[in-house]
């Protein structure tokens, strides 16, 4: 049986539709009223887990799921030991440095950076040899520079509307982000045919 971890929400359902089309359907999963976390279709030899997006990579790395779909931001932040088989092209956005409109960096002192993505931030500024003080936040990152808690933020930017509404603007793009198909390394060895087929079909679906 193939175990697939999908992120709860729109992205997970978008990928499920493609998997359904290539023979991995499990109708129950589309029931919006359902509070179940696990869905199984023995006929198609498939089991789905619906998990928090940031947990998908853990389920796959630990082997509870054979494959999964996760944002590149999570892969860069947590560096799980998994195969990254395909850039699905969905959920595109950018990991950016943003600051209040008109902000000018004072390079004579450490930069205060508020972010959820502390590892991506540390790697980015280490490459530039810039001294930073990282402030870890769990939400509403845009608030930090407004109230003077940080100089800049590092966060995902999709359209930039939230930034604009709060008087912020992108000052630097770190990396482009999109959804990726990942696989457990051991599962890939033993279920290679099945996983390669899914990868190829999703690639076709992606280019449609």
């Amino acid at each position: 049986m193939l175990n697939i971890a999908l992120p709860k929400g729109r992205l997970g359902m978008q990928v499920y539709q493609l998997l359904d089309e290539i023979g991995y359907g499990c109708a129950e999963i589309t029931d919006e009223g359902s509070r179940k976390l696990i869905f199984e279709n023995p006929h198609n030899d498939v089991r789905y887990f619906l998990v928090k997006p940031s947990d998908v990579a853990i389920y796959v790395e630990k082997g509870a799921a054979d494959i999964g779909v996760v944002g590149k931001d999570i892969l860069l932040e947590n560096a799980p030991d998994v195969y990254e088989l395909l850039d699905l092209g969905f959920g595109s956005c950018r990991m950016c440095v943003a600051a209040m409109t008109g902000y000018r960096e004072d390079t004579a002192r450490p930069l205060r950076v508020a972010t959820k993505f502390t590892n991506i931030t540390r790697t980015h500024y280490t490459k530039k040899n810039r001294d930073v003080e990282i402030i870890k936040l769990y939400g509403s990152i845009e608030l930090a520079p407004i109230v003077g808690m940080s100089d800049v933020i590092v966060d995902l930017v999709e359209t930039g509307a939230t930034l604009r509404e709060n008087g912020l603007q992108v000052v630097e793009e770190i990396v482009s982000i999109s959804a990726r198909l990942i696989a457990n390394k051991s599962s890939f060895l033993f279920k290679e045919g099945q996983i390669n087929r899914i990868t190829a079909e999703l690639q076709k679906g992606r280019s449609v």
Partner: protein
Amino acid sequence: MNNTLIPKSEDGIISALKQIYENAGFRAFKMHKFEEYSLYVENKDFLPTEYVIVFNDPNGKLLALKPDVTLSMVKNTKATPASSEKLWYRERVYRFDKHAREYREINQVGLELLGNIDAVAELEAALLALRSLAAISDRYMLQISHMGLIAGILHRCGIARFEKEQEILACLASKNAHDLSRLTTALNMPKQHAALLTFLAQSGGSAKETLARMRPLITTDETLREYEELCALCESLSALGYADRIKLDFSGVNAMEYYTGVVFRGYIEGIAAPVLSGGRYDRLAEKFAVGIGAIGFAVYLAELLYHQKPGEYDTDVLLLYADTSDPAEVLRTAEQLRAKGRGVRVEPTVPAGLRYREIHRV
């Protein structure tokens, strides 16, 4: 996937591995519990981790709990190009787990061949790796790749920057052909080398098929030499009956400073992490003994613990005695049952939670 059960106990696996290695003429090597910290400072490029637990001995010398076994074995080797050493070990190493943010004690069994590493020695190491996996479970697979081939491509492309090397290795390790393709384009890598790297990032399937599809992409004499080494190794392993147990898969390449040639990585179906890892490491060996080569691997036992079938009973027989029982009679009865191969636990009352097959009273 986590429901996979390994039929043998940890002791049973260690005993089977010991027998395999000693039958192949490998001598057991027991090393000191601690190592001088200076060894790791001087050879940090060859360490799998930058984290080491360090402490002072009573004389002020800095000692460390070993994060690695190979360095300790190689530094004292008596091997020469004309006289090889074959050693096996069972040791505990201490490594930092970046996810758990704490040190872990890892029980590992492994072997090292030091000296003249020719095609026979390399094949024997691969064969023993396969037999080690077979001793754990009949559902196993060995990934084979070649660090020298990757290092050669990067060297010929003039990619000497550590950061870029690491990015390319990370793409290979994660089978990430899409980001690798962007990277090789950004680095202006010659097309034939980029095509070979992209192919290797997607490598998998049977070794024979993969080698056949790889051949048209080999365009330099140096790469051809390494390719032929891989072909010879895979053909020999197939001739020995392991064609279905090997895969040419370059996601196993890592530690460019450490490995110089063939790299192995072994998996058991249903166990998420590799249980065997190793390869050829001539550069480290040559630091300690001029002209020698080296190859070895380690079997990691920690992950197997989570996949072993728990015993159904704690004891076969619970032997209950009364206050008035004669102590000698109680233990004589127990010994008689044990002599028949039964496990016997002696108690005055039934312990809470004890699982026993049957109960006897004296």
